[in-house]
Amino acid sequence: MPRRLVTGFIAAGVVAVALTGCVPNKAGAGAGAVNVAITDDTCAVAEKTTATGAVSFSITNKGSDTNEFEIYASDKLRIVGEKENITPGQTVTYVAQLEPGSYYTACKFQQVGGPVGLAAFQVTGAATELTSDAKKLSDVAVTNYISYIKSQVGELVPAVAAFSAAYAAGDDEKARSLFASTRAFYERIEPTAEAFGDLDPKLDYREVDAVAEGLDWTGFHRIEKDLWPPAPGALNSDGTSAFLDWAPSTPAQRQSFAAGLVGDTAKLQELVSAKDFTVSLADISNGSIGLLDEVASGKISGEEDWWSGTDLTDFAANVQGADVAYGNVRDIALTKGEKGKKLTASIDAEFSALNGLLAQYGSIDAGFTDYGQVTDAQKKALSDQVNALSEPLSQLTALVLGA
């Protein structure tokens, strides 16, 4: 995953026009607008390449329901531009300020689920000098990060629906195959979900946490233990018997846990879609280090996915989430002189090293090595690299806030 080498150069920003939506197309340098034709299951962008600058898209929704158009960074995760709420039959113009680099375009039917018609989109030309308008940079970072959060939750919702349905129906094999990849959407935005207080305990608490806090144990990990039931004599991560106050869920309990997971995920979507939902610049950069802390405290030790052994998927998703959050404030860091250049260079290099190390064990799409098969020496190498990245990353907030 050498994407960091690329993202280093696409330090683009979407100008504030993205905030307001329909803005007269006064840019495009005579190239004309790039036409985008949307149907329910396609997203045809007429050009594969365009020149850098204020790129104008003329988007027509020929489908049957509301759609949205998105421009991703080369990691296919971080959003650099988005036009929402395009109704059937509508044609809208949307202008994105794009720096040279590799992007992906996609649409989202009914504004949930995975990207439809993901296609590479190249922007050529010479990079323009970064603006030093702090307010503008901050607005862009916040806007795009909120879009990204919504996009991840938008993908989480249908993934949870499919996973929960398989579990409730007793199709354990299918549910097991969906467990790790479904969680990835959640793990990428975990600090945001945790900020909502009581949702994370319901969705993502491990048994030992719930028992200790006297909460009803629900969510992903409750289901995990049914799907990967403990062998006789097995222990929980805290050394207690795996069968202490636990028995395999009955079909009725399965229905209830599945419905709970779906309901709590819907609640999460409602919260991040609320008009007043916002994040601060510090939330973004702190979220980045927070995700690495999640890795350091839960994933490295193998306590997170105690029964499934899918810790490395969570690990990778946390790292991706950290990388996206960092990517959102990276431009701001670059405006902070020599110090900013040095810090971003260091963070870029360490992200690249960590991604390289993780890639030795698989990928989120293809699956990762069972964490039980990872040796102590390999865990130490991963832990060392997490520390190597976390140290410079922990300096990011102070730099970005100019403290």
Binding site: V208, D209, V211, A212, E213, G214, S237, D238, G239, I289, D293, A296, S297, I300, D376, K379, K380, S383, D384, N387, S390, E391, S394, T397, A398
Partner: protein, 447 residues
């Protein structure tokens, strides 16, 4: 740093401690031989710390030993109404051991073990070697009674405190080995599970606890080593813990020390100079009667996620604790000993001391006035297999009833600090009153 031991050993010239304290001639007179205790201590202190934590960290902790308090020559009486080592000004070093009794042990054997331990503890706390003949005065053809590493060292404020675990009275599978089940205090029961617990059974619980505290690590280790040797065949160590850098003060004469998070710890601790509070919060009542003048001891091994903590922003660290890091003053303002104002709010209307701050949730004002007498220690058990420091706080508290600890620990369920710590060991013990001269520890229990 430390001068050549020989040069400090000149008659009439008191050796100077790096902390600035000057030993008096009277203190010197207590030295068993003419050897400079301080010169020797520096060397031995470093060596023992190396033993304690192994390898590279030894040197740093050895340096800490060199600047230890000036109470090195204190001698605390072993006999008394209460056991020493509770309200005694907290010493700098800890060696704590929890023992399991042998299956073959009878009630009489147990009584004899307690008598043997009492005799040895009385000698060692007085700065003397154990046994009739000590370390070097016995027969040439017999192993010495005392292991010898504390020869030439003063008592160093050594206290040895004994406690009885719930399993002494009844095993977990319900056996009453010593006919003591009916005498178990109702208050003495295995602690419930708490939020954030990640306990390992092998470093939790135990039949009998021995807490050895001293201002010299070698003196503390010597005590546990010899008590353990005396018990071979009768009791063996289940788990043990070395600690350094006291994290609490139990006397107004002591400065508030810092824990490994870098914060002052135990500012609002119970102090020996406040007998009303000590009586109300620390000493057990007479139910059961054999516990009158005793106390209850809770230990919690609290691993710190040091690496994550060290990366946390200063304002986050201070928010989590609820005090500033420099002076230890509450975030509501004032100095270290200013009472925290939990209702004070800042410009944005948010409380100055966060709702989840450790100081708020642990404070007596938030816990119906409940207080604990804390005398915990920092620990560094080398590193884990990931190369992270295996370090944290070995929490020790004494209270009239373990329920005090339980209530406070429950109120800490939402503690912001939880993100950075993990409780990995837990134990509770009934600490009997002190032994009278000629008696033995726990005598009242067998009466």
């Amino acid at each position: 740093m430390r001068t050549d031991p020989a040069s400090t050993d000149q008659p009439g010239i008191p050796p100077t401690d790096p902390s600035g304290a000057t030993a008096t001639a009277a203190e010197d007179a207590k030295a068993p031989h003419g050897v400079s205790r301080r010169g020797l201590l520096g060397l031995i202190g470093a060596g023992a710390a190396g033993l304690a934590v192994g390898g590279g960290t030894g040197a740093a902790i050895g340096a800490n030993a060199a600047s230890a308090s000036s109470q090195r020559n204190a001698v605390y009486p072993f006999h008394g109404a209460h056991q020493a080592g509770i309200t005694t000004p907290v010493q700098d070093r800890l060696h704590f051991a929890s023992f399991d009794l042998a299956d073959s042990l009878t009630r009489d054997d147990l009584v004899q073990l307690l008598k043997d331990w009492t005799a040895a503890a009385a000698k060692m706390t007085a700065g003397q070697p154990v046994g009739e003949t000590g370390a070097v005065d016995g027969p040439e053809v017999a192993p010495p009674e005392d292991t010898g590493e504390a020869l030439d060292l003063p008592a160093a404020g050594l206290t040895i405190t004994f406690g009885f675990g719930p399993t002494l009275f009844q095993t977990t599978d319900g056996r009453d080995r010593f006919g003591l089940a009916s005498r178990r205090p109702a208050a003495l029961a295995v602690l419930p599970r708490f939020s954030g617990d990640n306990l390992s059974p092998e470093i939790s619980g135990g039949d009998i606890a021995i807490q050895a505290c001293a201002d010299d690590p070698q003196v503390a280790v010597h005590a546990i080593r010899n008590l353990s040797r005396i018990a071979f065949g009768r009791a063996s160590i289940r788990w043990s813990q070395l600690g350094f850098g006291r994290t609490s003060s139990t006397s107004t004469s002591q400065l508030t020390a810092r824990n490994l998070m870098g914060f002052k710890d135990g500012t609002a601790n119970i102090k020996a100079e406040d007998p009303k509070v000590v009586d109300a919060q620390v000493w057990a009542d007479g139910d059961p009667s054999w516990m009158a003048g005793g106390s209850y001891l809770v230990t919690r091994k609290i691993r710190m996620i040091i690496e994550t903590w060290d990366r946390a922003q200063l304002q986050e660290q201070e928010r989590v604790i609820g005090r500033n890091k420099g002076a230890g003053a509450p975030l509501s303002g004032g100095a270290e000993f200013t009472a925290p104002d939990f209702s004070a709010t800042g410009a944005t209307g948010k409380p100055l001391i966060d709702k989840a701050a450790h100081v708020r949730l642990a404070h007596p004002d938030q816990n119906k006035g409940t207080q604990l007498l804390r005398r915990g220690y920092n620990y560094v058990d080398g590193n884990d297999q990931l190369g992270r420091l295996d370090a944290g706080l070995f929490f020790i508290s004494y209270q009239r009833d373990p329920q005090q600890f339980i209530d406070i620990q429950r109120s800490l369920a939402t503690d912001a600090l939880k993100e950075y710590i993990r409780h990995v060991g837990s134990a509770v013990f009934a600490v009997p009153p002190g032994a009278k001269a000629g008696g033995f520890i726990g005598q009242q229990l067998f009466a």
